[in-house]
């Protein structure tokens, strides 16, 4: 789960970490009031969306698609500029490298006091899956696209793995300070900051904390000028405070609906809906549809022990997508018997008045009975024995290759 920058900075502040004063705003008037309140001549006017690359993104009018302004993060030198930037940002669509073409409507702003920057750094904490340890990454090359730095000069990114039973060691912090070539004053400031940030990462079960840039001021103070914070969804049960920061408007509505009913759904660009049990098989089903010339409309995993009700919800979620022209159901009946799945499919198609072609492939426990139930129904359901056959059938039923 991701949160906005302004929420991340509130968490940092509560942890005693060095951030600039800032105010979350939802209107132009609030933004102008924030400028007065902050009392800083120079402020940053920052678009708040759950995606990176905001600074280099572009704002468009959501109706006309006309370009409104280049850059989703602006430096304002007076109140008039705050008004100008806030009105160009709020309610418009921000398209960045990470949002995709459709971009995201900006409903939230963050007005933050400026500071005098001597140098920009990159800092991140994440989980190294292969080493099974938290990993701290830091670089002197802050403020820019870190993926490019990793690609072109990987030696410029310094990495420290932290053993959770020992915690972050002073010797490791010293190593980082040396790599970043910090002077004594800045190193002291960095040490306090990184200890606090690592504590926050562990205590709140973060999946990632990325600060780009982390800055050194002209007074050799380290300040967290950015806050990209993500949380491990599996751990949210023990963090009610974090759960309250969730902004549902930043998430795909059908994906939220699916999650609430215990299904795993991801919307894609194609027109063949898929309903599958198991995440690996669901991905494989999408791949095979593509292999035979179709385009999957979604990823949908109904789980290993799906019941009739979940199958029905799954159908309704797939059909919420107007692009869907046909559906492929691919179930490997293990513990769940195929005859039960077949009855679920029939119940769902009747209840929802399904009017697009449906291909069902059932294998595993009681598959003969499942197929018999489907073929004996008077509904327009096609069956397939293999995944390849199922994919070919649905592709041809919706009119072949596009």
């Amino acid at each position: 789960m991701n949160i906005h920058e302004y929420q991340g900075k509130q968490l940092f502040k509560m942890q005693g970490l060095p951030v600039q004063n800032g105010i979350h705003c939802k209107t132009i008037q609030e933004a102008m009031n924030a400028y007065d309140y902050l009392g800083s001549e120079i402020v940053a006017v920052k678009s708040q969306i759950h995606a990176g690359g905001r600074g280099k993104g572009s704002l468009y009018n959501p109706e006309t698609n006309e370009l409104v302004m280049e850059g989703g993060v602006k430096i304002a030198f007076n109140k008039d500029e705050v008004e100008k930037y806030a009105s160009s940002i709020l309610g418009n669509k921000l398209v960045t490298k990470q949002t995709g073409e459709n971009g995201k409507i900006v409903n939230n702003l963050y007005i933050e006091a400026g500071c005098s920057i001597a140098h920009e750094y990159y800092l991140a904490i994440l989980v190294d899956r292969e080493m099974r340890m938290p990993l701290i990454m830091a670089s002197k090359e802050g403020g820019m696209d870190i993926e490019e730095v990793a690609e072109n000069t990987p030696e410029a990114i310094h990495k420290i793995h932290v053993d959770l039973s020992k915690g972050l060691l002073d010797s490791q912090i010293n190593t980082l300070c040396n790599s970043l070539e910090l002077n004594d004053v800045a190193a002291k400031s960095f040490a306090i900051m990184i200890k606090g940030l690592f504590t926050l990462f562990v205590e709140k079960d973060c999946s990632m904390v990325e600060i780009n840039p982390l800055v050194k001021t002209t007074n050799d103070e380290m300040i967290l000028l950015d806050a990209k914070v993500g949380f491990d969804e599996n751990a949210l049960f023990r963090h009610q405070d974090i759960l309250e920061l969730r902004d549902l408007s930043e998430e795909e509505a059908t994906e939220v609906k699916a999650k609430d009913t215990g299904l795993s759904y991801v919307k894609l660009e194609g027109n063949i809906g898929c309903l599958v049990n198991g995440a690996g098989l669901a991905m494989a089903t999408m791949d095979v549809i593509k292999l035979y010339g179709g385009e999957p409309a979604n990823f949908l995993d109904v789980g290993g022990g799906a019941n009739e009700e979940q199958v029905k919800t799954a159908f309704s979620i797939i059909l919420d997508d107007p692009a869907v022209k046909g559906i492929l159901v691919n179930i490997f009946g293990g513990i769940m018997r195929c005859d039960i799945i077949a009855r679920g499919v029939i119940g769902a198609t009747q209840a929802l008045d399904l009017d697009v072609p449906l291909v069902v492939r059932l294998v595993g426990t009681n598959f003969e009975e499942g197929r018999k139930i489907l073929s004996e129904s008077d509904l327009n359901i096609h069956t397939a024995e293999t995944l390849a056959e199922g994919a070919q059938k649905i592709v041809s039923l919706i009119g072949g290759e596009e």
Binding site: N234, A279, M283, A284, V363
Partner: protein
């Protein structure tokens, strides 16, 4: 021989009194797994009826292992407590026997809990963790065998193919594919779809390489992380037996979690394309479609003079 789990392995069930634990324990007994009892804190002294027979429940894993001399345990404990259940089992196996296999089925364990649990297990040299978020491990026998997990037992048969996979139902597809060309399995291991897990691809490949009964291996990967790439490198350097593969997620978009917590392409890393190309260049033939795993495996067996 099979790997890690013999056909007659003695198995405990952690969380045996819960709905999931009891349901699957019953299925395991039905398959022929040598279940010797279970463990649920606070329910010690009770019994659980599986397939018409009563099985004892203990409060702690230490008591359970002391009494039964179990070889393995399977965990169906809810996510908030599963990390602790792994640590308890590892500690009990290590202190009482010096070895043991822990199979964790639970999905949804916090990543930091798994970091702590895997660090603990790694210090106990004789103890192995499989999973979490996996279907488990199965060694089919002549009659029954050892099914430790949630996979449908009846689709398997004893044979000479080893299977290792990150996915559940896709593993069953792979099993069905081996059966379609008349081959059975030595052992099938589901290593799970979480970002941080116990046993990995290389552990399994290396065990299959050393197992006399295993003739070839099917390896099923999916997007996320770099475990497939590292396994491919290991195969090219150490493996003499044929390995074939499949990687799910060619069409998965970046930055989206595809069901499994670990199945996500992040920072441009972990794509299926990279994995398949690493595997192909290590000599692992990959199927484009899971329905073709059998065909690819048959060709690999023929090329190796095994058919």
């Amino acid at each position: 021989m099979a790997i890690w789990i013999k056909e007659d392995a003695k198995v405990l069930v952690q969380g045996i009194t819960g709905k999931q634990g009891q349901f699957h324990a019953d299925k395991m007994v039905e398959y022929g797994t040598n279940i010797v009892g279970g463990c649920t804190p606070g329910k010690g002294g009770q019994t659980v009826n599986l397939q018409g027979k009563d099985f004892p429940v203990w409060n702690t894993m230490k008591e359970a292992i002391q009494t039964t001399d179990a070889d393995a345990t399977v965990i169906y404990v809810p996510p908030p407590f599963a990390g602790g259940a792994i640590i308890e089992a590892a500690d009990a196996f290590d202190s009482l026997k010096g070895n043991g296999v822990i199979v964790c089925i639970t999905e949804g364990i916090p990543t930091l809990d798994m970091i702590k649990a895997t660090a603990f297990v790694n210090e106990k040299k004789g103890v192995r963790l499989i999973g979490p978020n996996c279907p488990g491990i199965i060694t089919p026998g002549e009659n029954g065998g050892a099914k430790i997990g949630i996979m449908p037992g009846h689709i398997h048969a004893k044979g000479r193919i080893g299977i290792v996979s990150k996915s559940g139902t896709l593993t069953y597809e792979a099993v069905a594919q081996t059966m379609s060309i008349g081959e059975g399995q030595t052992t099938c291991v589901g290593i799970g779809g979480d970002p941080v897990n116990g046993t990995g691809f290389i552990d399994c490949l290396s065990a299959f390489e050393n197992d006399k009964e295993t003739a070839a291996v099917v390896m099923i990967g999916e997007i996320g992380g770099t475990a497939e790439e590292e396994a491919a490198k290991w195969v090219s350097e150490h493996m003499t037996k044929p390995v074939v593969g499949f990687v799910a997620g060619m069409t998965a978009p970046p930055g989206k979690r595809m069901g499994h917590a670990g199945a996500i392409i992040s920072g441009g890393k972990g794509t299926a394309k990279e994995k398949v190309s690493a595997m192909e260049s290590a000599g692992i033939s990959c199927a484009n479609d899971p329905s073709e795993i059998g065909k690819v495996l048959l060709k690999a067996l023929e090329d190796a003079g095994l058919r």
